[in-house]
């Protein structure tokens, strides 16, 4: 991880190219996070890749309910030479959850972006094949959002099978 100063330096470099790109930097318990303006995600990641963070280790969605903007997409980048990790985060509103796909930079983002779309409903623009990946294709709803119920069904045993709604007879 870059230390707090290193993170500020990185943020400064990126801000030099685009003033609006970085909204905030967070350094907490050894974890450096850049909070990025959603439209600027691709140039920022490209710049970070130029700085050596060339491996997209993970990409995941978060739901910050009840905070706003609710949804978040986190990119965990890794510099394999100096073994350094940095995470980049965008926050999105639920009424317009759109962010650019980074598949051009890392083809490996394909499955992970599809998973975030599947679970949180975040639309990755310019993704060539944005479909549900884990849930059935005709499924409705975004199951891993915080306001989606955990779900589950009553289990049928012989003692309660008559009480289960919809059970024959």
């Amino acid at each position: 991880m870059p230390d707090a100063t290193g993170l500020e330096l990185i943020a400064q470099d990126i801000r030099a190219a685009d003033e609006e790109s970085i909204l905030d930097t967070v350094y907490l318990r050894g974890r450096a996070t850049l909070i990025v303006n959603p439209p600027a995600i691709k140039p920022v990641l490209e710049a970070l890749r130029g700085k050596g963070y060339g491996f997209l280790a993970s990409l995941h969605g978060v739901d910050y309910w009840p905070e706003e903007p609710r949804l978040g997409v986190v990119y965990e980048l890794l510099d394999m030479d100096s073994v350094d990790r940095i995470s980049v985060k965008v926050r999105l509103h639920t009424d317009h959850p759109h962010v650019d796909s980074v598949m051009e930079l890392w083809p490996g983002a394909n499955h992970q972006e599809r998973e975030v779309f599947d679970m949180f409903g975040v639309v990755f623009d310019d993704h060539p094949d944005l479909r549900r990946i884990l849930m059935p294709e005709d499924y409705e709803g975004w199951p891993q959002r915080r306001d989606f119920p955990v779900g589950g069904e009553p289990v049928i045993f012989t003692y309660n099978e008559d009480r289960v709604p919809g059970y024959p007879e």
């Binding site: 491996f55 993970s58 978060v62 986190v74 965990e76 499955h111």
Partner: protein, 401 residues
Amino acid sequence: MSTTEYPVAGTDAEEELLTINMGPHHPATHGVLRLLVKLEGEIVRDCRPVIGYVHTGIEKTAEDKAYWKAIPVVERMDYLAYYFNAMTFCMAVEDLLGLEVPRRAQYLRVIHLELNRIMSHLVWLGTSALDLGAISMFWYCFREREKVLDLFEQSSGQRMHTRYIQVGGVFEDIPVGWVEKVKAFTAEMPRRVDQYAALLDRNEIVLRRLRNVGVVDQETLLGLGVTGPLLRASGNPWDLRKASPYSAYDEFDFRIPVGTVGDNYDRFKVRLAEFYESVKIIDQAIDGLPEGPFITEDRKVALPPRHELSTSMEALIHHFKLVTEGFRVPPGEAYAPIEGPRGELGIFLRADGSAKPARVHMRDPSFVNLQAFPHMVKDSYIADLIASLAMLDPVLGGIDR
């Protein structure tokens, strides 16, 4: 990608692609993977994996449980690497809590992780050899696997999904006589691996099935986010145990096997060599096992010992609090990566200050590595697709979670 010129069936007019569906129920897909394969004669021109058939919503369920009750749930993701799943989860929680883990616990964790790695590779070897037609390997590997599971059972009471690693340390100290059993196992294991190698590595059929098949170069793999034996087979010695040592891995002497070509044979050899390295780590950890507590003394996180419950009121309160509500974790986010048997196993954990995690996301290596599969099988024979899938070693529970 292979550069071999394959004969094309039929004349130009007859050329057409045939799309076939493999799975989700197919004996060679190592689970419920579904593959849409486009064939031109016998040659695979395109392949698209369709996944989600064992999607369990574990990440959602884990959000509904207290931190220490989420461990058993998380363990069931990649069901051949349960110690690893528990390890990354506990590492992330310890990270957020700022908790110090005793050295003995770290050593015990390493021993179990490496035993788990051996077990996972044994299942891989057995089932892969089965796919290649060597059915006897399956029985040999499962014989050894039972021995590892016996060790797990003795130390934790369960064969699979042991919930041995927990926040702050391990669940219990190892029982009397366990060390001797592990030593007997590590003394035997290298000889067994020699036997496997003798059976497969000099077998003309196996060599022909594996050599120069499914070659993918390093840059493509890195772009796809592939890690683990798959990446190491292509010559990149990336291993988190060496690169950023966690737990007690920096105290052991071991090597990272790497391949040169990046074909299926290298993948096979790399995993075979990892057996020896794991055995070496276990031996060193057993010999150097430090004395001391096996779990942190912090009573806010770890259960008090049983004997304290009848004498100390405070212990009883802590026990009650932990069992009913669990411990609270200060707000924050953590990403804890470790080197699983299949690559970088990372967890993203968000805590919101309550006793339940606000978001658990597992970056499972199988899920990411599967994207390399179309690259591995493109323009090869359909028979090699089975071999390539076996050498990719996907675990569907990890892919779908």
